[in-house]
């Protein structure tokens, strides 16, 4: 394995970790108007993410930073091509972030309603747009040899792109509703569990359609057909997806949540493996595609950054797992007050 390969898969891994961590936040935020029947239940939902969401979001910053450092050209062309979509994501994330801190500052239903709306938009929009963006990357983006984008925001809203958006939203809704079921009690807990089971069916349908559509809309399967052993990744992902349902029906919520996490990681790698070595394929001409080889940093930078990653990512994981473990119980349990 050369450095470009290692970084390519680390890049995929960082996105996967971002999706499994902030993913449940997006799910809970999207479900906010649908599952909570009163202010108390809304507060449970906010506080179920409260201690962890900020740390989760840094995985996005790290994924972005690593793209910048290890594949500067991908970073440059990807984010300038997807300008409007990315701006929408960023503004959505801003609204979501401040909602946590602002909502509880003033005791007025109107005020709270504003931030509940921001929380909803700030969760549902990134979920869909990340999905649409990645699906479009799988499909190829109209960029020329100078990295100039020949399209608009609407170019991204093709059927396959939208399907990607729906799929991501379903992943996060299932992931988030299980998380909420773990964190809540009483009616809300029951509602969250029921929602997880129902949404799982939608997720299954979306996943099947996406797997089939990818065959027609993308080149993702070329790598799999070249090395059939890779189909194991898809099989494991599908098993994990079925595992969610299995554990949900047994009431083993943590196991269901971990199955959901494995499903999301598997789905991310399904795409990443299919792309390899492309990172930002051009739909105009394959020669314009940005790959792990033609868009990477210098060997020295890749080497230094690998050392940095090998030292710091495990450290980050250790203290994040510590933080997750500290707040693993239900909201409102001993020592876990509703701050927000």
């Amino acid at each position: 394995m050369d450095l470009q390969n290692i970084w390519f898969f680390l890049w995929g891994l960082l996105w996967a970790v971002y999706f499994i961590s902030d993913g449940f936040d997006f799910g809970v935020g999207t479900l906010l108007p649908f599952l909570a029947k009163n202010d108390e239940e809304k507060r449970v939902m906010y506080n179920s993410m409260g201690p962890l969401w900020d740390g989760n979001e840094v995985w996005l910053i790290t994924a972005g930073g690593v793209t910048f450092a290890a594949f500067p050209q991908v970073y440059a062309v990807m984010f300038s091509s997807l300008y409007s979509a990315l701006m929408l994501i960023l503004f959505a994330l801003i609204l979501r972030g401040v909602s946590f801190e602002f909502r509880h500052q003033i005791e007025s239903p109107g005020w709270k309603k504003i931030w509940d709306s921001c929380m909803f938009i700030g969760s549902v929009l990134p979920a869909i747009l990340f999905g649409a963006a990645f699906a479009n990357i799988f499909r190829g983006i109209p960029i020329d040899g100078e990295g100039i984008y020949h399209g608009t925001l609407l170019t991204l809203l093709n059927p396959y792109g939208l399907l990607g958006g729906v799929l991501f939203l379903c992943f996060f809704l299932v992931h988030g509703s299980i998380w909420l079921a773990i964190k809540s009690e009483g009616d809300l807990h029951e509602r969250a569990k029921a929602a997880a089971s129902k949404l799982w069916i939608v997720l299954l349908a979306a996943a099947v359609v996406f797997l089939i559509a990818s065959y027609f809309a993308t080149n993702l399967y070329a790598n799999y057909l070249a090395s059939p052993a890779l189909f194991l990744v898809i099989i494991v992902t599908v098993l994990a997806l079925l595992g969610i349902r299995f554990y949900l029906s047994k009431g083993a919520l943590w196991k269901a949540w971990f199955s959901s996490a494995v499903t999301i990681i598997g789905a991310t790698f399904y795409g990443v493996i299919g792309l390899f070595p492309n990172m930002f394929p051009s739909s105009m001409d394959a020669a314009f595609s940005l790959t792990a080889y033609n868009a990477s940093s210098s060997q020295l930078t890749l080497k230094i950054m690998l050392v940095v990653a090998l030292i710091f990512v495990p450290i980050v994981l250790i203290y994040q797992i510590w933080a997750y473990n500290l707040f693993k119980d239900k909201v409102g349990s001993e020592g876990y007050d509703k701050v927000y």
């Binding site: 409260g50 450092a69 970073y75 440059a76 990295g147």
Partner: protein
Amino acid sequence: MDVLFLSRLQFAAATMFHFLFVPLTLGLSILMAVMETKYASTGDETYLKMTKFWGKLFLINFALGVVTGITLEFQFGTNWSRYSEFVGDIFGSLLAIEATAAFFLESTLIGVWIFGWKKLSAKAHAFVMWLIAIASTLSAVWILIANSWMQHPVGYVMRNGRAELESLSEIIFQRWAILEFVHTASGAYVLSAFFVMGISAYHLLKKQNVEFFARSFKIAVVFGFIFSVIVAGEGHMHGADLAEKQPTKLAAMESHWETESSAPIYMFVIPDEKNEKNLVEFLPIPGMLSMLANHDMNSEVKGLKDFPADERPPVLINFISFRLMVGLGTLFILVTAVGLLLRNRLTDYPLYLKIMLFSIPLPYIANQAGWILAEVGRQPWIVYGLMKTSDAVSPVQTPQVFTSFVAFLVVYGLLGAIGFYLIVKNAKKGPDAINA
């Protein structure tokens, strides 16, 4: 308006807005760590109340700082893609290191701090606060190393049409980076001290919670005085660096047009950019500019006219920013020194307290002025001497950038107004509204 101009406006708006919140995060986190440590070691409940009261204001400010920070990282890609391709090897690495080695710790622990009062012992909770303070300062270290590289690129080699990394240690430990960090961090600490002193003064004037706010004031005034002296003294050391490494910025901020020996500093100047001269020059301090630049009263200082017109930064804005920053910096030393003398009988000096209350915005202005000088003074370069800002901009469409710029103004304007309102409201309420 073209993409370049709009992108510059947008980046300026986004960075300046972000930097309204960063300095307070940097400084207040340290003050809170001091307060909480005092609580953890003495068990004195007033210190706990202090931690929680200042913590409430801190968290509103922190939230705005965090959410506005994310857009900055991604704007290099969206609006400055040519720059990103050119410097990713170096600049991108520094940002990535910042996220993994510092920002992660800060963001993960802030949640633990907010929610963990009953989960952790008092000492462990105070330790978490220290880690947050240290991590946010470390975060600043990496960001400022990255900015320093734009100001004075070192440790690179031009290869494959871009700047590639040659020596990371040279980049990290270059003199410019160390100076810039000390200067920026000190400026942030001064701002935080004035924030705490100003709000304490408000309550002391009203004779509310006197003990509580007198204690807060005393911690802040010591902190404020120390860093006012450091930021000024260390800022002075920048002068010599500028003369050597960014002579155009030095000439612009002094509106210094003609190359001359034993160049003076005029106390009063009106620049006339169009005619490349000063309309009015009044009250010279002979040889002072030469002294600042080269530690030699008789030395030569290059004037703007000796640089090609397309390599000069705008004069007026840098000239004004520099004077604002230095003038305010001097004032900060004076008022904190007075505060040190009066610190044990503050309530006897209502006029001083009033001055301190109305001084809260001043370090904000000084901090912003400093950054304007740093960034506008570097123009027309995005990386000094290596890449011009006009070559760095993304090949995107004008309407896209126009739309996002307007969105930035609207969203940030609203958030700023709400944040300001909430901080003022909570600051006025005082500590009694907090359940300890």
